[in-house]
């Protein structure tokens, strides 16, 4: 009756964790594909407004980013609570926008210079005064293509 012989050790066998790396690698590849490297450390709050008639931005090599919003909590003491502009990891004044955009356009490849889009990543709580000032500066340097970067969703969610 060897078929029904009891197994010798009564201890439970160890649970195999061999598939754990596979699962983690799956997560890893997911994150590698859907995210991009951080370019700028955000110094301002950046809760983008919501819109649903959006168009995708062009390729990254022809986009200039301008951030604006109230400074993050840790910078409020040094820079105050009013909405500020952020260019390239630094707080900036409105007069810095035009030279910054010109310099960025100059740094692009020549054939892309006419196609440059300026993406405005502005916090929803910012006043339009600041945004209008930025737009005026952009008009001065003839960088006319802009993109109000938004999250995708129902625009009525902006109102509450």
């Amino acid at each position: 009756m060897s078929k029904f012989k009891k197994k010798k050790g009564s201890e439970l066998p160890a649970i195999s964790t061999a598939s754990l790396p596979d699962i983690v690698f799956m997560l890893l590849f997911f994150f590698m594909t859907v995210t991009v490297m951080r370019e700028n450390t955000l110094l301002v709050k950046n809760a983008l407004p919501i819109a649903n008639q959006v168009q995708k931005l062009d390729k990254k090599d022809r986009v200039i980013y301008i951030y604006a919003g109230k400074p993050m909590q840790q910078y409020v003491k040094a820079y105050g609570g009013e909405a500020k502009i952020q260019l390239n990891d630094k707080f900036a004044n409105i007069s810095d926008v035009a030279p910054y955009v010109l310099a960025e356009i100059q740094s692009k490849r020549e054939e892309l210079r006419d196609l440059v889009t300026t993406a405005l990543k502005v916090d929803g709580e910012t006043n339009m005064g600041l945004v209008s000032d930025i737009k005026q500066e952009l008009r001065k340097v003839n960088a006319l293509k802009i993109n109000y970067t938004t999250r995708t969703g129902d625009a009525f969610n902006n109102l509450d």
Partner: protein, 204 residues
Amino acid sequence: MARRSAPEVNAGSMADIAFLLLIFFLVTTTIETDAGLNRKLPPLEPPTENPPVLREKNIFEVVVNKNDQLLVEGQLAQLKDLRQLAVDFLDNGGGVGKEACNYCKGRRDATSSDNPEKAVISLQNDRETSYKTYIAVQNELVAAYNVLRNRESQRLYGQDFTEMYAAYNDPKTPSSLKDELKPKVEAIQALYPQKLSEAEPKSN
């Protein structure tokens, strides 16, 4: 030769290595938002130039005040009604003779716009208007154009304009398809040209 089974490699630390990599990517990367409302700013013009004369009835006036309230054509309005109001205005087609619009399906009200080519939406906001309200208003106005363009596109080509336009602008689209889409996109854009002008914000 005696057959020997290869000793099993201990893979217990593989998960740890993978976790390390995963956490590295979690902290150094962001999910980038790369979509938004594309707009074109008007070029700075010399102040001596005379602005083109527009008839009052061809202007759809939208004013947003500092309390984020909307004034559409001189009347208080809610944001949820703005899209329909803009569609009605653009699609009115009240012109006669040379200015008639044969594809418009509006009310043909003589006091509203002549045809979509003449119709201009004028948006004015206050310096203290909040950005998110401004975006919501812009979104609704762009939506109004998209509603009409999609309608005409469905009628003429059996597909949505927004889809065609996205495919046309996508760098991954093969150029043969782009050449095919280009006349269609331009035809629809000519039927309902986006004339959305923004006045300088008031400060008071």
